[in-house]
């Protein structure tokens, strides 16, 4: 099954990134767009733009029949979903299969299995891989409290039907276990109409470490090493790096082999990521598997030298994996910063505005995967992530120095962004030493958002002298009055 024309069912920086590789491989390319959408880098790269409709732009990007129809209409023989939107939607994969269009990604069965957190966890445990000790009430309600006790303390009670942290309780002492279970049950009923619970061992100051895998769908799987993603705000990553500063070489091999083993067990096809919770004592547990390309995949590309989208397209075309495990290096250090339109000093409130001036950094070891253009508008229609700045250096210290220099020179004027905040994180001594957990940004929020040096006089001078009307008014005042102006106070 050769692929000659690829439709990218996505937008923004990831659509541009996928299109670049597809074009370099000689494919004809197309990308979706909605009328309400600004022109972006992807529109300048794609050979063809397919307009989609919907009450909101997001609804259009989630409209399976419309997108399958679009692929057929333009004669695309494959669809790349990017990340987000329909990238982990089993019904979309099935609809494409039925239409005879290749989905660049895993099978709908794999997506189904890994999308169900309880089934995925059970699958991983059955195959002998580590999951956090837990007890599920549904397994045997009568013995639930007893089984919860054997998980040990601290433990976390979660509603089975839950999400978003609602109804979760941390229990540190056995004496409060039963009352906390009853409270969690009432909250579960209130929030989700479902009082069933499960408990799992609560990891203090955990790190989030994940492993990039790639499979051919026949049981051959390689890994492309790990990524450390502990720097998160509102449960979303904003800085990722590889290698992880937490792992010894032995732990690195162990966690990467575990991930590859899980992928092998499902005969995984395409690019995927196995996420782990990593405890301060070095223990790690399966969290979930993402059955798509990740936002942070470029750090892996910079240390391995592989183009992961090219690997995805090879596998989708039935050409298999391009490399054996021994041929995949991990050279130097790479860091990604997610540039977002948001105000880090106001609880990361999303910002909107017109991009009045854009000047992105360039140079050795610097890559920018950008979804914006100079003169564009940042609206509330989509996610606040505007672009990704990815750097590579010979070692971690040099990568941090390079990232700081690049983010300081990332000029986006007209909309509030987090570039200054990202630089403050990189400058923090705990980040430099690698001593972080997923709670780092919350714990350090005061330090990271503290006001910098007071430069308000310089800013007011710049604002005054660049105000054409003000300057022209001032120059029209007769000399005498101008001098009087100075005396005024």
């Amino acid at each position: 099954m050769t692929i000659s024309k690829l439709l990218v069912a996505n937008r923004g920086e990831i659509a541009a990134r996928v299109l670049r590789t597809a074009k370099a491989r000689g494919l004809a390319t197309a990308v979706l767009s909605h009328v309400a959408e600004q022109e972006g880098p992807a529109h300048l790269i794609a050979d063809e733009i397919v307009m989609i409709e919907g009450p909101t732009p997001v609804a259009a990007y989630l409209d399976i029949p419309q997108i399958v129809e679009a692929a057929k209409k333009i004669g695309a023989d494959a669809v790349h979903p990017g990340y987000g939107f329909l990238s982990e939607n089993a019904a979309f994969v099935a609809a494409l299969e039925e239409a005879g269009v290749t989905f660049v990604g895993p099978t709908s069965e794999t997506i189904d299995l890994m999308g169900d957190k309880v089934r995925a966890r059970a699958f991983v445990e059955e195959h002998g891989f580590p999951v956090a000790p837990s007890a599920i009430e549904d397994d045997d309600p009568a013995s639930f409290v007893e089984r919860a006790r054997t998980v040990g303390y601290p433990l976390l009670i979660k509603p089975s039907a839950g999400g978003g942290g609602k109804g979760m309780r941390i229990v540190r002492e056995d004496s409060t276990l039963e009352t906390e279970i009853e409270t969690a049950r009432r909250e579960g009923v209130r929030y989700f109409g479902d009082g069933r619970l499960f408990v799992e061992c609560y990891i203090e100051r955990p790190r989030h470490i994940e492993v990039q895998v790639m499979g051919d769908g026949q049981g051959n799987v390689v890994h492309f090493w790990e990524r450390e993603c502990s720097i998160q705000r509102r449960f979303q990553k904003i800085i990722e790096e590889t290698p992880s500063p937490a792992l010894t070489p032995e732990q690195r091999d162990e966690i990467c082999e575990t991930a590859a083993g899980i992928a092998r067990a499902v005969k995984y096809r395409g690019a995927g990521t196995v996420e782990f919770i990593y405890a301060q004592d070095g223990a790690f547990y399966f969290l979930e598997m993402n059955t798509r390309l990740q936002v942070e995949h470029p750090v892996t590309e910079l240390v391995t030298g592989f183009d992961l989208v090219a690997e995805q397209l090879r596998v989708a075309a039935g050409e298999g994996l391009s490399a054996a495990q021994a041929d995949i290096p991990q050279t130097g250090h790479s860091i990604e910063l997610r540039i977002c339109a948001e105000d880090a000093t106001a609880d990361f409130r999303p910002a909107i505005g017109d991009i009045l001036l854009l000047d992105e950094p360039m140079g050795e070891g610097i890559r920018v995967d950008s979804g914006i253009l100079d003169g564009g508008k940042v609206t509330t229609d989509f996610d606040p992530m505007l672009s990704k700045l990815i750097v590579h250096g010979p070692d971690r210290a040099q990568a941090i120095a390079r990232a700081r220099n690049a983010v300081q020179n990332y000029v986006i004027l007209g909309v509030t962004t987090n570039t200054g905040y990202l630089d403050e994180i990189l400058a923090h001594p705990d980040f430099a030493s690698g001593d972080v957990s997923t709670g780092f940004l919350a714990e350090q929020s005061e330090t990271l958002t503290a006001p910098g040096e007071d430069v308000s006089d310089l800013l007011m001078a710049a604002a005054a002298l660049s105000d054409e009307r003000l300057v022209s008014d001032v120059m029209q005042i007769p000399e005498m009055h101008r001098k009087m102006g100075e005396w005024r106070n």
């Binding site: 999303p350 630089d423 308000s456 001078a461 710049a462 002298l465 660049s466 005042i477 101008r482």
Partner: protein, 167 residues
């Protein structure tokens, strides 16, 4: 000539003049001789003021000037004092909540006539997939809640109005 500049929510009144050879900005902190010369880069300038020289990038928006300097980005709001007087409609900024961005109302916690305390949640809005709770800017009585649950609103729409404070 006068301007009011707004940095991090703080307003400063300034007076720009020219003494025949250079510009001078009078601020509450003192007088600053200053000079701004283009560098040739888009929006690129060299600023000389207070005895320092800074390379900066600058963009002038309709209501604010954006400055990139020393690796940080700043927003300087500009108000012409003459326009502020002309545009006054009796209500003060303290009386209303203005939408920081377009979005949808998720829930409304109060109704006109309710007495509220500073910091009390008035309504929850959703923009860019994130929920934000908006709270009362001061103690007072709710005069108007123009939007109901599920309504969409635009940038700078008034989301809540308090009755004017009695003297």
């Amino acid at each position: 000539m006068q301007r009011i500049f707004q940095i991090d929510g703080e307003e400063t009144e300034c007076w720009l003049g020219h003494d025949g050879s250079r510009f001078v900005l009078n601020t509450p902190n003192g007088t600053v001789a200053c000079q701004l010369d283009p560098t040739g880069l888009p929006g690129g300038y060299t600023l000389r003021a207070k005895g320092v020289v800074r390379e900066l990038r600058l963009a002038v928006g309709p209501e604010a000037t954006f400055v990139h300097m020393n690796g940080r980005t700043y927003e300087v709001g500009r108000v012409d004092p003459a326009e502020r007087l002309a545009g006054s409609d009796g209500g003060t900024g303290d009386d209303r909540l203005v939408a920081p961005m377009p979005g949808v109302v998720v829930s409304v916690a109060v109704k006109p006539g309710d007495t509220v305390e500073e910091g009390q949640p008035l309504l929850v809005i959703e923009s860019m997939k994130l929920e934000t709770t908006l709270t009362a800017p001061r103690d007072g009585v709710v005069a108007e809640m123009p939007f109901a649950e599920g309504d969409s609103f635009g940038l700078k729409d008034i989301l809540a109005q308090l009755a004017p404070e009695e003297e």
